[in-house]
Amino acid sequence: MVFVRTRLPLIVTFVAGFIIIAQYYFNIPAWKALSADLLRFNVVLAAFALALGIGGIVRLHSGRIRRRAPEAPYSMLCLVTLALFLVVGFAQTTRGTTYRWLWDYILLPVQATSYATTFFFITSAAYRAFRVKNSYAAVLMASAVIMMLRVGIFASAMPWMPNISAWVWDIPNTAGMRAVTIGGALSLVGNAFRVIIGLERGHLGGGE
């Protein structure tokens, strides 16, 4: 039982990862076909995983309703909305006209607006948080301002500004981001390797 609970998941992680890495380096048709199947399994499992968050939310909000907490009416609304989308969605999938109405007039506006509110946060951040306290912050601010001056009024008032902005984007910005990209890639490769060989086990979760 210990084998099934602890060793088997690590073996599956390693074998699945190894097959996909090996097909990248060795051109063996049977190996590539097996890898293609494994990727299709990954897509299906990822689709199942999309609904995992529902368990936690239902537990949280149903607990509030049971306890008659002050937020209980809002929790009820959340669960009713969830149920509405699930019932209509499972009956029609995303192809049905009723589901499309729900998506167009309920989900789309809230999703779009939730990100649009960051417009206000960035205004607040520019006013309250952006303090030029040293030379690094000054360079950061200068770079931000140069990027913002490349459009509209500024481009017509200062015709040379888009060229300066393009140079800053092409040379120092790209150089800095290349270092971040290379560092990030090394980190990704290292972490992926650690997961595949079983050194990282956080994804396996708790439990006995």
Binding site: L45, R150, G152, P162, R178
Partner: protein, 275 residues
């Protein structure tokens, strides 16, 4: 006096920002729009498409990024359609399906594209990077039905395609800046074009410089520039006036905040350190 700038109610700033961003929508100013090199090269790459060339369009964005991404899709997608390219749309984001449907309707109506012969829409596929790798290596194994639930083997276009290697170009309108490029760059001969959100522009800079991308459109301003180049007015160009006024206000906020901060620091009584 200047230290009072440190204590402005931010709701006043919000109100000013809302007015500056909104007023030009009602009364367009018509400010000039310089065309950047990335957009010019993107335009030239799509302009070189020949009738019958197969083009992927990745509709990989959610409603949260639609104000930037939808104009990019309209501009580049319509340009590709006007060159007679055959288009296959797909999406790896849960919200992309609706934009695929809307763009499919536009292509059928405005460019007389025949669904199943010169146009195809594929459904959402979970797994993100695993799905992109499947597209690159095993396209026909991944999809069995189209966006509308019809078996794909009923369409002549799908039966003609062997895999991603048959395609000339992949136009990606992306919320996930790099995952798609990591996988699609492995397909030999496939030109990659990216319409990215402005917030991801710096992330794409090294990939642009290394010419892993044949074209790069950044945010709403990039879409507006493309609309000017293809002479198809769209939602992006109309919104650009508010953009530059908003930038001016942000720069002013930074200046006001710093002036107020340093004025307050200068006025604050100097305290002795303990011990």
């Amino acid at each position: 006096m200047l230290e009072k700038l440190n204590n402005l109610d931010t709701r006043i700033l919000y109100l000013i920002m809302v007015c500056l961003a909104t007023f030009p929508l009602m009364r367009p100013i018509g400010l000039p729009l310089p065309i950047t090199e990335q957009v010019k090269l993107c335009y030239e790459a799509i302009d070189q498409l020949r009738p019958g060339d197969l083009v992927f369009i990745g509709v990989d964005f959610e409603p949260s990024s639609a104000p930037e991404a939808w104009p990019q899709l309209l501009a580049m997608g319509r340009h590709a359609a006007s060159k007679g390219a055959r288009i296959v749309m797909l999406s790896m984001f849960p919200g992309g399906f609706r934009y695929e449907q809307q763009f499919e309707d536009i292509l059928k109506a405005q460019y007389d594209m025949q669904y199943g012969v010169t146009l195809l829409s594929l459904p959402y596929s979970a797994g993100l990077e695993a799905a992109y790798q499947s597209v690159a290596q095993n396209l026909k194994g991944l999809y069995t039905v189209d966006l509308h639930g019809t078996p794909l083997n009923q369409f002549p276009l799908w039966n003609e395609i062997q895999g991603a290697q048959d395609f000339t170009m992949y136009i990606q309108i992306a919320d996930a800046p790099v995952a798609w490029l990591r996988q699609l760059t492995q397909v030999p001969g496939l030109k990659l074009i990216n319409g990215t959100l402005a917030s991801a522009a710096s992330t794409m800079a090294p990939l642009w410089q290394s010419r892993q991308l044949s074209g790069l459109i950044i945010g709403m301003s990039g879409a507006a520039e493309y609309e000017v180049l293809v002479r198809l007015p769209g939602p992006a160009a109309a919104a650009m006036d508010g953009q530059s006024l908003g930038h001016a206000m942000i720069i002013l906020c930074i200046i006001l905040g710093n002036v107020g901060y340093y004025a307050a620091m200068r006025k604050a009584p100097k305290t002795r350190s303990a011990g």
